[in-house]
Structures are given as C-alpha cells and as structure tokens.
C-alpha cells in the first residue's frame, strides 16, 4: 500500500515499490493460522480461534496486496520486464506445487511397488512376513496386515471419477475458449466461457464431496484406512483444495474481466490463473490413472 496511489512512475524503468505493509500482515496471519492449529492439535482451547483470525487476516492480506498490484498495473507502472518477472514467478510457483504433489505420488508408488510387497514376503521381506505379519498377502488396495481402520471398499474408477475427469478436461477446453475470446476482444463470450469453467469446477468439487461422504458412510473408506486410505485421501484431498483455490482465483478473474481490467494484449492475471487451472487438471489426470484406475 504505502504511497503507491500518489506516485507516478516512468515506465521505461523497472518498477520497484517503495515499501509495503502487506508481507508483515501475511506473516502475522500465517503465524496465527499455524500457531493456532498447533495449539488445537495439542488440545489447547483457543487454538481454533487463533487459526480463524489468522485465516481472515490472510484473506485481508491477499485482498490488499493484489489490490495494490492491480492498481499499479492499471496505472501503467508495469513495463514488459515487470510482466516477465510475474510470469516467471507464477511458473516457478507451479513447479514447486508439482514437486509437492510429487512427494505424495512418490509415497503411493513406493507403497504399491515396494513396501506392501515386502510386507507380503517378497524379496528381502520374507522374514518380515514370516515372523511379524504371518498370513498377510500383498494385494492392492490394502489397509495393511493389522487391518487398520477396518474393512473397506474402494470407489470404482469408471463411475463418478470418470465423470469428474471429463468435467475437468472440459473445463480445460472452456478456459481456452475464454482465452481466445479475451484475445479477440469479445467480452460477452469471455465471461460466458469463464463462468462455464467455474461451474464445471464447482460440479467437480460437489461430486468429490459426495464421493467422500459415500466413502465414509457406505464404503468404510476413511483417511484412517491404512496406507490405501492415507494415499487416497491425501492425494485427492490436496487436489480438491487446489481446485477450490483455482476456482476462487477464476472467480476473482471473472469479476476483473467484467470490470474490463484486461486488454487483448495485456492480461497476465488471466493467463496465470489459466496456467494454474491446467496444472490442477494435469494433476487430476495423474490421480485418475494411478489412484482410481490402476
């Protein structure tokens, strides 16, 4: 915030803001969010309140920070070079997200290819199986030799998960159509296809929630269902959170499109969110293949 509103800036120079208050707000917000969560996990009352306050503060920070950036952008402070910095920032942020999912995919592959077979006596696990877990045979899905979480059934891939795959794939198409409309300067078409993208995401999330409900109440499949439940819910859960985040971003962008913030040539905010949406889409394809189908 600082003095961004009163300044002028020579666009031949790289824009360096003079001071900002939002990062420290963001730090206090994250500190309160996770500190409260830590208190709550240790059974101390008041933790949830601190977390909630932190979360609200985080939203305030995001609103204010992005608000400053949007205002500066509209005032023409950002030249081509600043634009490239933003693009690189977004690309590398998405790469970090890919690696985060990589950790959980890695856990899934390791569990399926190595640890469960070893528990079942394969390779050097023969004695483990013989003496520690006699009678356990390695099949996937499993909740382990101690049957942690009790009997469960899995969700068949070719039902709702397939529908979800089609939904997300179509949303990748609709956002591309919206992008073409933006570049052609057709705001009506842009808003329509962007809204369609958001709607497809919303339906996806509703189906995910329905599935979770179904898994918990009918199938006995929970986060506590051994290694299968752990990998299933952590992967699909983090993906769902990313879909939610992507939808919030898309919604903000919808309003910005409606207000005419973007031009045919200059609409990095839109593109960044589109990249993010495609990333979420690709992660889902991995999930569909490795969690549901295989």
């Amino acid at each position: 915030m600082a003095h961004a509103h009163t300044e002028t800036h020579d666009p031949t120079l790289y824009y360096v803001p003079h001071g900002t208050r939002w990062p420290i707000v963001g730090s206090v917000a994250l500190f309160s969010l996770v500190g409260g969560a830590a208190l709550w996990l240790n059974g101390w009352a008041g933790g949830t309140v601190a977390s909630l306050v932190g979360f609200v503060l985080l939203l305030v920070m995001l609103w204010g920070w992005f608000g400053d950036v949007i205002r500066e952008s509209i005032r023409g402070f950002y030249n081509r070079q600043v634009d490239v910095s933003f693009r690189m920032g977004m690309i590398w942020f998405i790469f970090s997200e890919v690696m985060f999912f990589g950790a959980f995919f890695g856990a899934l592959f390791y569990a399926r290819a190595l640890q469960v077979p070893w528990l079942g006596g394969e390779g050097h696990g023969a004695l483990t199986n013989e003496f520690l877990w006699p009678g356990f045979s390695a099949v996937w899905p499993t909740n382990g030799p101690a049957n942690i979480g009790g009997a469960f059934e899995t969700i068949p891939a070719w039902g709702l998960p397939l529908v979800n795959t089609l939904l997300l794939l179509s949303s990748g198409v609709t956002i591309t159509i919206a992008h073409h409309a933006l570049r052609a300067g057709q705001r009506g078409s842009l808003l329509f296809w962007l809204a369609a993208t958001i709607l497809l995401g919303l339906v996806f999330l509703c189906i995910q929630l329905y599935e979770y409900h179904h898994a918990y109440t009918d199938l006995g499949l929970t986060l506590g269902s051994g290694i299968y439940g752990s990998t299933f819910f952590m992967l699909t859960g983090f993906h769902g959170l990313h879909v939610l985040l992507g939808m919030i971003m898309l919604t903000v962008i919808w309003f910005r499109c409606a207000k005419g913030h973007f031009t045919k040539e200059n609409h990095f905010g839109f593109e960044a969110v589109a990249w993010y949406w495609h990333f979420v889409d690709v992660v889902w394809l991995g999930l569909f293949l490795f969690v549901y189908v295989m």
């Binding site: 020579d10 120079l13 790289y14 360096v16 803001p17 003079h18 001071g19 900002t20 208050r21 939002w22 990062p23 420290i24 963001g26 730090s27 206090v28 994250l30 500190f31 996770v34 500190g35 969560a37 996990l41 240790n42 910095s85 690189m88 920032g89 590398w92 942020f93 790469f95 970090s96 997200e97 690696m99 985060f100 999912f101 950790a103 959980f104 890695g106 856990a107 390791y110 569990a111 190595l114 640890q115 469960v116 528990l119 390779g123 520690l132 909740n143 382990g144 030799p145 101690a146 942690i148 979480g149 986060l223 506590g224 051994g226 290694i227 299968y228 752990s230 990998t231 819910f233 952590m234």
Partner: protein, 536 residues
C-alpha cells in the same frame, strides 16, 4: 562502465522511520542486511546449543544436562544452523550481491522479497518456543525419523508448522532469485558472462524450488500420521517408516548442495581476485555446478545403507554418489589452477577461501569414504559422520560465508575491516575448528555413536580435546561479531574497487553502495567483467 548511482530519477534517500526502513522495506540491500543479521543471531543461538553439547561431552558420564535435554540440543542445533544460519546467510548474500553483479535495479519481486525474510522470525519463534513447552523441544534429530519423532509431545506440531513456514520462505526467496537472474540482467550481461556467485545461486535456487516442497510433503505426512490417523509410516497399516527416510533424503541430499553451491560461487570470486588472474575454466565451473546439482537428485539413499535395501540399490547409490567426486574434483582443480603462478596476496577473504579449499576437500574425501557401502556399515551414525558433515558445513559452508562477508563488507559499510583482527579471526577459527572436528574422525572410527550424551571412557581424551576446540571456536565467533561491529562503524575508507584484483559490476558502484543502484541498466564493458571473455 557507467554507473548511475547518482543520476537516477527519484528516491535515492533511504526511508526515514525505523519501521519503514526495516519492516516495510522492498530494498534488496536492506533485506540482504536483515537476512545477514538474522543469520548471525541464529549462528550464535545454534552455537550456544553446540556449546551445551560439547560441555556435556567434555567428560564421560552424565554431568550437566538431562539426556532428554541433550537430545533437544542436538536436534535444535541442527535445525537452527541449517534453516536459521546457513541458508539465510546465503540468501542475504544473494540479495545484496546478485542485483549488483548483474546490473539490476533490485530483486525482480521486491514485495515478495520482504515476505521471504519476515516469515523467518515467526517460523523460528514457533520452533524455539518448543524449548519451554511441556515435554520440551523435538528430540529425534533434525531428520525427524518416525516412529521416534512421533513419540514426542507438544513439540511435533509446532516443529512441523515451523518447517512449513521456513519452506515457504525459502521457496519464495528462490523464485525471486531465479526471476532476478533470468530477467533482470543488464543488456550484454549474457548468462555465460555472469559472475560465478550468481551462477551457483541460479542453480541453488532451482534445487530449493524442487526439494523444499518435498520436505513439506514429508513433514505433512508426519503430521497426519500423528494427528489424523494416516498410516504412511506405520507398517501395521501397510506403510513403512523407511518411506519417510526416502522422501526426507530426496529433499535432504540436494539440501546439502543448497548449503554448499553458493559457497563454491563465493570462493570462485575470491580466488581470482587475490590471485590477480581470471578464474581457470570458467565454463567448466558452470557445468560442474550443474552436474553436481543434477546428480544430487539421484543419490539420496546413500544416507540409508544400513536401513535395509536391496543390494542392487545399494550398489547403484554407492556408484552414483562417488560420481559426484568428478565434478567436485573439477572445481577444486580449477581453484588450484587459478592460483597457479598468480600474484597471490593473503587478505582475510583469501585466507578463508584457502581454508575452504583445503578443509572442504577433507570433508569431501570423508564423504567418499561414507559412500562406500561396506565401509558405511561401520561408519554409519558414528562421530565419523559428525566429523564429515561439520568439515563440509563449518569449514565449507560457513567458511565460505565468512570469506564472502569479509570480501564484500567494505562494499556494504564503506569501511575496510581491521585486517589484523580479520587474520586473527581466521587463524583462531581455523586452528580451533580442526582441534574440534578432526579428533571426531578417530572417535567415529573407534565406534563412538552420535547423538548420545554419555560414552565409553576409552573415548575420553579425544572428546576432551574436541570440546576444548569447540569452546575456542565458539569464542572465536564472538570475536568475529566484534570485528564486524567495529567494521560497521569506522575504519579506512574503502575505494569503489576495494580490492586491487577485483573485477565485475559490483566493484564499479561506490562504497558503501547507495540505497538504489542501476535504476537504469549500466553499459557493460566486457573487458571490465571478470568473465567478459568467455573463452577463458
């Protein structure tokens, strides 16, 4: 080569108020200073913990602290030194020097730069507060292996969230550095003309973005195993504690290069300056750094030879690890070849650089020994490992940082530090650090386990020698603080170039560097760059 420090359009003045200057800053130099001061504070905090460890180990038997507290000290010492001292020091140096080295007006994303730093104090509050919580700080070692790490008390959730915040900070810092280097170079500053400190940081930043999220994933699985009933690391549920080790070390091995590659860069700047010769094999240095970074992703399980792994996997990880000695050897060869027939002088930065080359190489060789599977069965989790990684991290990373600090300090403060005091600091540190860590090789080979507060009387002498070295080294760093404090206030005025043999853009701006530099890109004159002529 033009510098525009005095001729740019607006705002050369620093912000007036204290909060405006430090809390709300978007200036790469001020944020660099914050990082460096923070790192120094954490260095002293982590050092104090090391003093507790060496005091308890001064004699066999349990003297000073409870074993539980001893375990907290070993765990916290590592976490504080890695995430609080070494990594922020390198980010601070990057903030200060990369824009100056490539002719950029600031970091690419100045607001996010502020956030990267200001997350750290909050993260470390969460980590350090566990010392006074019921049950104390984490005790399972910085590697947080389950199931042991999950048997702690209140500290687990706090530690994990602290690591999450540190990770966010590192990732944002790394994104900023990549965007700065790739997008903010002055026209004519081609990639293969960049100073090596900038080069090594470009590669380090890539490593950070690739592996910090993996650490976040690993500790998140710990969190859900502890509090939400998942079975990632529980064999009864089909999981495996060894899975954690794989995910952790996929982060952990690149992490050790995150802590050493920027030091390689610093040393590659200093040795040519004080040899008054161009760096030998500039391009080979760049490619060697990239090779090391690539290899760092495919060697992680060398930390796990004794955990139980198929023989084929052990062989693969052994040979892949030993392969890293090739590009590292290229680097050491090039440093030595740079000095060959140079006009050497031995100011403090050069002394630290030479100390680095010799002692880091000792650490590298003991690392090779540890890479040998059958030998590792003997060395694993002994003091030999402790000696190895302290040679790499103290006489490697931290000596590299100190070399860089002495080298660039005149550019920051405008004053030359007291050369005599600097030399005293170097010799005091170098002698004491070897008294501290060299005997630990023998202790490890004789079988003394790490992370244990008591030991067999057979190990008494070497432990006492090591502790004496430890106290002396600790005191030397208090002296270091005095040298820095003195140099920040007064001294001989530094010239723009500071060092006779120094080349590159950072030496063309005034000392101290003005608050804003290169608001308009400088005109690059290849003959005045350290690596303007790419054929050498």
């Amino acid at each position: 080569m033009a510098t525009h420090s005095a001729t740019h359009d607006d705002h050369d003045h620093k912000p007036q108020g204290f909060l405006d200057r430090w809390l709300f800053t978007t200036n790469h130099k001020d944020i660099g200073t914050l990082y460096l001061v923070w790192s120094l504070i954490m260095f002293l905090v982590g050092g104090a913990m090391a003093m507790v460890i060496r005091a308890e180990l001064f004699q066999p038997g349990l003297q000073l602290v409870h074993p539980e507290f001893f375990n907290q000290m070993t765990t916290m010492h590592a976490l504080v030194m890695i995430f609080g001292a070494v990594m922020p020091a390198f980010v601070g140096l990057a903030n200060w020097m990369i824009p100056l080295q490539i002719g950029a007006p600031d970091m690419a994303l100045p607001r996010m730069n502020n956030w990267s730093f200001w997350l750290l104090p909050f993260a470390f509050f969460l980590l350090l507060v566990t010392l006074v919580l019921p049950g104390g700080a984490p005790q399972a070692g910085w590697t947080l292996y389950p199931p042991l790490s999950l048997q702690g008390g209140y500290s687990i959730a706090f530690t994990i969230f602290a690591i999450h915040l540190m990770g966010i900070s590192s990732i944002m810092g790394a994104i900023n550095i990549i965007a700065t280097i790739l997008n903010m170079r002055a026209p004519g500053m081609d990639l293969l003309k960049m100073p090596l400190f900038t080069w090594t940081w470009l590669i380090t930043a890539f490593l950070l973005i690739a592996v910090m999220p993996v650490l976040a994933g690993a500790v998140t699985m710990l969190l859900t195993d502890k509090f939400f009933g998942t079975s990632f690391f529980n064999a009864a549920g089909g999981g495996d504690p060894v899975l954690f080790q794989h995910v952790f070390w996929f982060f952990g091995h690149p992490e050790v290069y995150i802590m050493i590659l920027p030091a390689f860069g610093i040393i590659s700047e200093i040795i040519p300056t004080f040899s008054r010769k161009p760096l030998f094999g500039y391009q080979a240095m760049v490619y060697a750094t990239a090779s090391i970074a690539f290899l760092s992703f495919i060697v992680w399980a060398h930390h796990m030879f004794t955990v139980g792994m198929p023989v084929g996997a052990q062989l693969y990880f052994m040979y892949a690890t030993m392969l890293i000695a090739v590009p590292t050897g290229v680097k050491v060869f090039n440093w030595v070849a740079t000095m060959w027939r140079g006009s050497l002088t031995f100011e403090t930065p050069m002394l630290f650089a030479l100390g680095f080359v010799i002692m880091f190489t000792i650490g590298g060789f003991s690392g090779l020994m540890l890479a040998i599977v059958p030998a590792d069965y003997q060395y694993h989790d002994t003091y030999f490992v402790v000696a190895h990684f302290h040679y790499v991290l103290v006489t490697g990373a931290i000596f590299g940082i100190m070399a860089g600090v002495y080298y660039w300090l005149p550019k920051w403060t405008g004053f030359m530090y007291d050369e005599k005091l600097g030399k005293i600091h170097f010799w005091w540190s170098t002698i004491s650090v070897n008294v501290l860590f060299f005997p630990q090789h023998f202790l490890g080979l004789a079988g003394m386990p790490r992370r244990i507060p008591d030991y067999n009387v057979a190990f008494a002498e070497f432990n006492m020698i090591s502790s004496i070295g430890g106290f002396a080294f600790g005191l030397a760093q208090v002296f270091f603080v005095y040298v820095l404090w003195k140099a920040s206030r007064a001294g001989v005025k530094a010239t723009d170039q500071v060092w006779e043999g120094a080349k590159g853009l950072e030496w063309t701006v005034p000392s101290p560097a003005p608050h804003h530099t290169f608001q308009r890109p400088p005109v690059i004159d290849d003959s005045k760059l350290a690596h303007g002529d790419v054929t050498h």
